[in-house]
């Protein structure tokens, strides 16, 4: 603790502290989307948020991204308030919809954040080319989004989120709209990209296998009000060692059933039979 370097290591990528978010309703007390949620994400760690619809996982991500403000509690990103972290461009973000600008080419879309933040033309070109190669779209740099498949568009969106080499990636169901085969391939690529970039990731998903395959830790949320039910450490080793065969691994299945049991927990107790609706268990 005496040197600044050891202090820097101690600063978590994300620190969510006692955060609640209540959406005001015209009548009544409003909807509690998140209730007293606390969570810490270490630098370089991959954390998934999973839970049934309405558990507030996307809300939590939007709060971390400072797209929304918590009703109470506080959120720090790399030790700074979320707002400051956004202004400093400490994170990259990808949504379920690729959200590419249709009038820009693949390269143009990836360059967008760099352009907005005043990076020179030559540096922009170089960085875009690097990222396009990273997501395997080198032949498509000059294509427009409407000429790409959904999976390719999503890869462009991921490349765009990586443009400014952020140490934190926020992803809101980025593969949610893709078919299963494309999805698995994208997961493998994401594991590889994360290993290469060393970025921490907060990843919202509906899919249990996806969460288990990608994550160091899986945060299981419950709905109404949104709370953390449990956090599962997957412990499948460093992301760099993860490959396609991991999906056959025994540890993978153990974690899978653990997360599944947690999600269905209230069903077993008979408290809320519809509790796990909206979660894919395949």
């Amino acid at each position: 603790m005496t040197t600044t370097t050891s202090f820097a290591v101690d600063v978590p990528a994300v620190n969510v502290h006692g955060v609640s978010r209540i959406f005001a309703a015209r009548k009544g007390p409003g909807v509690t989307a998140l209730d007293d949620v606390s969570l810490t994400v270490a630098p370089g760690e991959f954390v998934s948020l999973i839970g049934p619809s309405g558990c507030g996982k996307s809300t939590l991500l939007r709060l971390i991204a400072d797209l929304d403000v918590p009703t109470s509690g506080r959120i720090e990103v790399f030790g700074k308030p979320a707002r400051q972290a956004r202004i400093d461009q400490d994170y990259g973000i990808a949504f379920q919809q690729a959200g590419l600008l249709p009038w820009r080419t693949v390269a143009g879309n990836i360059e967008l954040p760099l352009e907005l933040h005043g990076v020179g033309k030559a540096a922009r070109r170089r960085r875009a080319a690097e990222l396009i190669a990273l997501v395997g779209l080198s032949d498509f740099a000059a294509h427009f989004p409407d000429q790409l498949s959904g999976g390719m568009q999503q890869r462009v969106a991921i490349a765009r989120s990586l443009a400014e080499s952020p140490s934190l990636l926020l992803m809101d169901e980025p593969f949610g709209a893709l078919d299963e085969m494309t999805r698995e391939r994208m997961q493998n690529e994401l594991v590889r990209i994360c290993a290469e970039t060393q970025a921490a990731v907060v990843f919202v998903t509906h899919s249990i296998p996806e969460a288990v395959f990608l994550s160091n830790r899986v945060v299981v949320l419950e709905p109404r009000p949104g709370r953390i039910r449990s956090i599962v450490s997957v412990g499948l080793g460093a992301p760099s060692g993860r490959g396609e065969d991991l999906r056959e691994d025994e540890g993978f299945f153990r974690s899978l059933s653990e997360v599944r049991d947690l999600l269905h927990g209230d069903e077993a107790a008979g408290a809320s039979p519809a509790g796990a609706r909206g979660v894919e268990t395949r």
Binding site: Q97, W103, L112
Partner: protein, 296 residues
């Protein structure tokens, strides 16, 4: 594979347009040849016009008339030349009106997009403004304009006409631009927020490009409105030199020179086509911002 699959769609559109024109000409001549001389009358109501040469001149009479002098006077220009001059004059005024209208319309849309309050304050007035008949405001504009004078600048009649044209032109632009500026997905707006860029950068990089698809039809409508506004305002203000004046002037000749009144009508149609074509040209340059439309 259909045989005409290789025909360019734009070319095909042009061919269809031409076919429509030929059809119209055919209907005109057919009715003139076969219709009753006194027109189709139900009770005391004439529902289709008389087919005499005075009421419905042959198309070639209208065409031939274009190449004869305007009047019997020795110095008279050929009709087509007089009409062309009038058309250019009106086109110039309409262009000024269009530019002013587009500028004002865009400015209003930006203001309304920027400030919620401005939208609820201005929008009803914009819509209300279009319910005032043109004939009512023309004399007002003229009278007010006549009082404007500072330094070397004096308000001229053609400026009144241009102002009235702009009064018609600004409306579709402000409404279209407002819708266009609000058209980006919530996703894109969120993204700009994540990038921590301000309103102006968001406008330039996101809202303006996204609005092109809404703006182009509005600009075309504005161009046509500006032409119609100019022609009508020329008449109500009594400005000489434009197509509006020629329409009124030549209409008096219909009694013994049935081909003549048609010339300025064709002229005004031509002006409208040129104006719309100009906007089409703008659209050609903004092609890349309309990719969404093409794929949709």
């Amino acid at each position: 594979m259909r045989r005409d699959a290789h025909v360019h769609p734009r070319l095909r559109g042009g061919l269809f347009g031409l076919a429509g024109l030929v059809l119209l000409a055919l209907i005109w001549e057919l009715y003139k040849a076969l219709g009753p001389v006194d027109g189709v009358v139900i009770g005391t109501l004439t529902v289709l016009p008389r087919t005499t040469d005075l009421a419905m001149p042959h198309l070639w009479v209208m065409f031939d008339r274009l190449f004869e002098p305007v009047t019997g006077a020795a110095s008279a220009l050929p009709l087509w030349q007089a009409v062309s001059q009038g058309s250019l004059f009106t086109l110039g005024i309409a262009a000024v009106g269009w530019l002013v209208g587009v500028t004002v319309g865009l400015a209003l849309a930006l203001l309304m997009q920027r400030f919620r309050l401005a939208e609820s304050a201005i929008l009803p007035w914009i819509i209300l403004s279009q319910t005032v008949p043109l004939i009512a405001i023309a004399p007002l504009v003229r009278r007010w304009g006549a009082q404007i004078q500072f330094g070397d600048f004096t308000w001229e009649s053609w400026m009144s006409v241009a102002l009235i044209a702009s009064y018609l032109a600004f409306f579709p632009v402000s409404i279209g631009a407002l819708r266009g500026l609000a058209s980006p997905d919530a996703n894109h707006v969120d993204l700009m927020h994540c990038y921590a860029v301000g309103w102006w950068k968001t406008l330039w990089r996101l809202r303006l490009p996204a609005s092109v698809g809404y703006l182009l039809p509005a600009l075309r409508l504005a161009a046509v409105s500006a032409v119609v506004g100019s022609v009508v305002a020329e008449v109500s203000i009594g400005l000489r030199g434009g197509i509006g004046r020629l329409i009124v002037e030549y209409a008096g000749a219909a009694g013994n020179d049935p081909g003549k009144p048609w010339a300025p009508i064709f002229g005004s149609i031509l002006v409208g086509l040129v104006a719309a074509g100009f906007v089409g040209l703008i659209g050609l340059f903004l092609r890349r911002f309309r990719r969404g439309e093409a794929s949709a």
